[in-house]
């Protein structure tokens, strides 16, 4: 568990190293515009269960064969991620279980551009390309849910499987995300 936290912290720390301060609108206009992509739409996870829940597929293990319509809340209908953060066979698994829900957004942009002005003079010094992820103004969560658990085995079908659910999370509503995320290499490659 400590290892996991360290890795996650390291990941966020890396992002912090890459982060630039927000651009004002007038600074944005000084940025050299280049081509890119505007994305909008939705992403839905296991709305009607996953492939292991397919009742028509007799090769699926019985423990997974559940009726997973949109209104079903059975714990096997979602996606599952199990991570062994211990020392292999002798340790348990950290699990995100029964992952389901819908994310929808309007206006995420992806583009590469060169920053050579702005940022209080830092832009001219930087004088390099960045990958800009323009965050959508709003991301809507529709019945997004998951369960955090500890498990003795990776799979519900494994011998000796025993799982303890720690907490369930359910999200509905909108999240406001504004600004841009700029990604660029730094340090020694």
């Amino acid at each position: 568990m400590i290892k996991i936290m360290l890795v996650i912290l390291c990941f966020f720390n890396t992002l912090n190293l890459l982060a630039l301060e927000p651009l004002a609108e007038e600074e944005m206009q000084q940025v050299l515009g280049q081509g890119g992509v505007y994305l909008s739409g939705d992403i839905t996870i296991n709305e009607n269960g996953g492939p292991l829940n397919d009742l028509a597929d007799s090769s699926n293990p019985a423990i997974w064969q559940k009726n997973c319509t949109g209104v079903s809340t059975h714990k096997r209908c979602g996606a599952r991620i199990a991570v062994n953060a211990g020392d292999g066979a002798n340790s348990g698994w950290l699990v995100l279980d029964n992952i389901r829900g819908r994310f929808s957004f309007e206006g995420m942009t992806l583009k590469t551009r060169k920053i050579d002005t702005g940022f209080g003079g830092d832009g001219a010094l930087f004088n390099n390309n960045v990958l800009e992820i323009g965050l959508p103004n709003t991301v809507s969560y529709g019945d997004v849910s998951y369960t955090l658990a500890n498990s003795s085995q990776a799979r519900p079908t494994d011998t000796g499987f025993n799982q303890t659910d720690i907490l369930n999370v359910n999200l509905d509503g909108d999240v406001s995300l504004r600004g841009n995320l700029l990604l660029f290499p730094t340090g020694n490659p």
Binding site: Y38, I45, L52, A79, R80, S91, W93, G107, N137, F184
Partner: protein, 784 residues
């Protein structure tokens, strides 16, 4: 006077061919001949010519062992019948009936080369009607029809044959003219040549099967109507002799035009096409060891209004291609082919180690005297654009440029067509996309093609060796086995028209394909990938310039798949509710979603990747696995060089990821990772992200929609609540309904490696992901 000379000349030719071999008619046969106007000649001939040479500037192209005979007995005569008549208008009419005949050429060499182009056999029978008369101001004009049936063409190298069986060919020319008045001034001097013009040249063809050892690769058929002009001049590109041509071909707009490939009754079809093709200074020269073909310029346009894959009721849309191949003297880039008899093997000593042994094995059965075809090619594509039109909505991939060179060998071996390509060196780039029409402003967004593994730009150096076998996963079809290596390539992932952006540079890409089959089925095109393993080693992922941009480090992707597949199916997503779950527009809108009817056309790509557990490949030649490695903090080869030593830095490794059917790596792997993409071109809702004027000075409020002012799509405004007419002027883009699913995706270990330790250390002793079914409805629009 001139016309009489021509008539006498033609009669002389006919007479000389008659002299080849005449057989005596029996009395009984003579008694059955009825007296008619004109002249009827029945001829039988057994023709054997030891060799026939065409000599150009002292170099000879020699056809050896030419034989014209009966099909059933190569020592017996074939027979022909000529009916010759002079019409009231003075036109000479010749109707020729050729009974089943075989034309055989034992070998074709240049300057007595050791290697030969191979052995050619043509079996055929035909009926031809040919009418010709003099023109008022000199020259000849006439009309022509021919029908060739029950034909078979066989190409044989080193004792192995490929054949086009059961060929049928019909052609007619409503009117042709033949004059000696073409003037050419393209080379700084004036010369006169032959001018041939054909009005409404209509032909159709079909082959029963293109087969190897009796197994069919599929059937080809087509119909084409065109008009053409051709000018022919003496003198080629090199020396004093040779041949030069200019041609102007117009493909007539005709719904009956089509080309069809059929496999087990299912077809790939391209029809209702039109266009043109112009060639300038197409030259033919015989050189000391090759036939040289070259042109200064070739430009053309080609439009196919109807494209079908399997399902004849669901067209995927239409395509339009415009192109210009043109010599670039400044950069020494040309359009050239050099055809060598025999197989010219590459220099193995200069090959990268990753492909060298595969190349040596590929050519191991061939020697200097082996038969086959070797081609040395150069090309310079100065500009091209490709349009895809889906339900009337057009996306143009614009500004396609490419140049390069390659050496290719082709031969037929034991039930296979073997194609070796070495030193395929060159570059290509795409400027960007135009949306709506061909004159719309160019935009970014070629990144959208990455999902189809089409990159924006690439500098490449490729060696690849392919064997094509007849027979797909079921019945006929095509099977491919091959080994390929990209050496030190640069790949543009997201770049602008100045070449700045994100690049994968110094890419070594080692690919091995086994038992890859292509079949056309009733639903679409199916590709079964029996086994493939590859390593893509990217030396640097650079931001900015491809040589000096900042590097993210090295990325190495190893892949090992067994029994994966890919299907391309006509038809896109159809009716879609984006942002909610509903089956109709009313329910979708009331649920907070957006109802979109993306039409009947479009295409669906269904991909199954069955990632295999680490292990030996089936042929035992390699130990393969799926692994992703990211490395940085590497040692520089020399200070300031910008080049880094692989495996000298720190690494994070996702080791041995694989799929299975839900019970772990010992389980079956039939489901794999499946990705289904329904792709359409559709209007996209694009919202303004901040209040005020944008980069082009167009003002609007946050969340206003970008709407084009008219169908030219060259100006736009921001609209708070667009009406129906304005919604039709939303920006166009790719609308992708995607679904990704797997039963289990397993990662054996996630590891970190410090440069000072020999082996990586494990962070996670396994990640097991199960039962994912992820659906996306995304619209992706290019932006400026």
């Amino acid at each position: 006077m001139k016309f009489k000379k021509i008539i006498l000349f033609i009669l002389g030719i006919i007479q000389s061919s008659l002299a080849v071999s005449l057989e005596r008619l029996s009395d009984s046969t003579l008694s059955n001949v009825q007296g008619q106007a004109g002249l009827t000649v029945e001829q039988s001939q057994l023709l054997n010519i030891a060799d026939f040479s065409y000599i150009d500037d002292g170099n000879s192209l020699t056809f050896e062992g030419i034989r014209i005979s009966s099909q059933t007995d190569v020592n017996a005569s074939s027979s022909q019948r000529y009916v010759i008549d002079i019409a009231a208008d003075g036109a000479l009419s010749v109707q020729t009936t050729v009974n089943p005949t075989q034309l055989h050429i034992k070998g074709i060499r240049i300057n007595n080369s050791m290697g030969s182009f191979g052995d050619l056999t043509l079996n055929f029978e035909s009926v031809t009607d040919f009418t010709i008369k003099g023109m008022h101001l000199g020259g000849l004009e006439g009309r022509f029809t021919t029908g060739i049936s029950n034909a078979e063409m066989i190409w044989q190298t080193n004792g192995h044959a490929m054949s086009f069986d059961n060929i049928s060919f019909n052609a007619s020319i409503d009117n042709f003219t033949f004059e000696y008045d073409a003037i050419d001034n393209t080379k700084g001097f004036s010369r006169t040549g032959l001018a041939l013009a054909m009005d409404n040249f209509d032909f159709s063809f079909s082959t029963g099967a293109l087969s190897l050892s009796g197994v069919s690769l599929g059937e080809l058929s087509g119909n084409l109507a065109l008009s053409a002009n051709l000018q022919v001049f003496g003198g080629g590109r090199n020396g004093a002799q040779g041949l030069t041509m200019h041609s102007q071909i117009s493909i007539l707009s005709d719904p009956e035009n089509y080309v069809r490939y059929t496999d087990d009754g299912n077809s790939l079809f391209m029809g209702d096409f039109s266009g043109f093709l112009n060639l300038t200074n197409l030259t033919f020269d015989i050189e000391s060891d090759h036939l040289a073909i070259a042109f200064d310029q070739m430009d053309g346009s080609f439009t196919a209004e109807k494209i079908l894959m399997g399902d004849s009721t669901r067209p995927i849309g239409s395509m339009e291609l415009n192109f210009l191949f043109e010599d670039d003297l400044l950069n020494n880039r040309h359009n050239r082919w050099q055809l060598y008899p025999g197989i010219r093997q590459p220099d193995f000593n200069t090959m990268p180690d990753q492909i060298k042994s595969y190349a040596q094995n590929f050519y191991s059965s061939l020697g200097p005297a082996s038969e086959g075809l070797s081609i040395s090619t150069q090309w310079n594509l100065a500009n091209a654009d490709l349009s895809y039109i889906d339900d009337g909505r057009r996306v143009v991939i614009s500004g396609i440029e490419s140049y390069g060179s390659a050496n290719t060998t082709i031969d037929v071996r034991d039930q296979k067509i073997a194609i070796g390509i070495s030193d395929l060196k060159g570059s290509y780039s795409i400027d960007g996309l135009r949306i709506g029409n061909k004159t719309a402003p160019i935009q970014g967004g070629a990144e959208l093609l990455l999902s189809l593994e089409v990159f924006q730009a690439m500098d490449f150096d490729i060696d690849g060796f392919t064997e094509i076998t007849a027979g797909g996963a079921s019945g006929g079809g095509i099977r491919i086995d091959g080994d390929y290596f990209f050496n030190n390539a640069n790949i543009g992932l997201s770049i602008d028209d100045t070449g700045e952006g994100i690049w994968a540079t110094g890419v070594n890409y080692d690919i091995h394909l086994r038992d890859i089959t292509f079949d056309v089925e009733s639903e679409g095109l199916k590709i079964h990938r029996g086994e493939q393993w590859s390593t893509m080693d990217i030396a640097n992922v650079r931001w900015g310039n491809k040589t000096t941009g900042l590097s993210l480090g090295r990325v190495k992707l190893e892949r090992f798949e067994q029994n994966s597949s890919l299907a391309i199916i006509p038809g896109g997503a159809g009716q879609v509710c984006v942002g909610a779950t509903a089956g109709n527009a009313t329910a979708c809108n009331s649920g907070g979603g957006r109802w979109e009817d993306r039409g009947e056309q479009g295409m669906t790509i269904a991909l199954k990747s069955a990632f295999a557990n680490a292990g030996l490949t089936t042929d035992g030649s390699a130990f393969a696995r799926n692994r992703l490695t990211w490395e940085n903090n590497r040692a520089e080869t020399s200070p300031g060089s910008g080049e880094y030593i692989n495996d000298s830095g720190t690494q994070i490794i996702f080791d041995n990821y694989s799929t299975n059917d839900g019970a772990g790596i010992s389980d079956t792997n039939n489901y794999g990772l499946q990705a289904n993409l329904n792709i359409d071109v559709y209007e996209t809702k694009v919202l303004k992200k901040s209040t005020g004027a944008d980069a082009n000075g167009i003002a609007g409020n946050i969340a206003d929609e970008l709407i084009y002012d008219n169908t030219d799509r060259d100006s736009y405004s921001y609209v708070a609540s667009p009406n129906s007419a304005q919604k039709a002027l939303r920006p166009l883009g790719f609308a992708v309904q995607g679904n990704v699913s797997f039963k289990e995706l397993n990662i054996d270990a996630i590891q970190l490696k410090h440069q000072n330790v020999a082996s990586p250390q494990t962070v996670f002793y396994g990640v097991v992901m199960q039962n994912l079914n992820l659906t996306t409805n995304l619209t992706a629009t290019p932006i400026q």
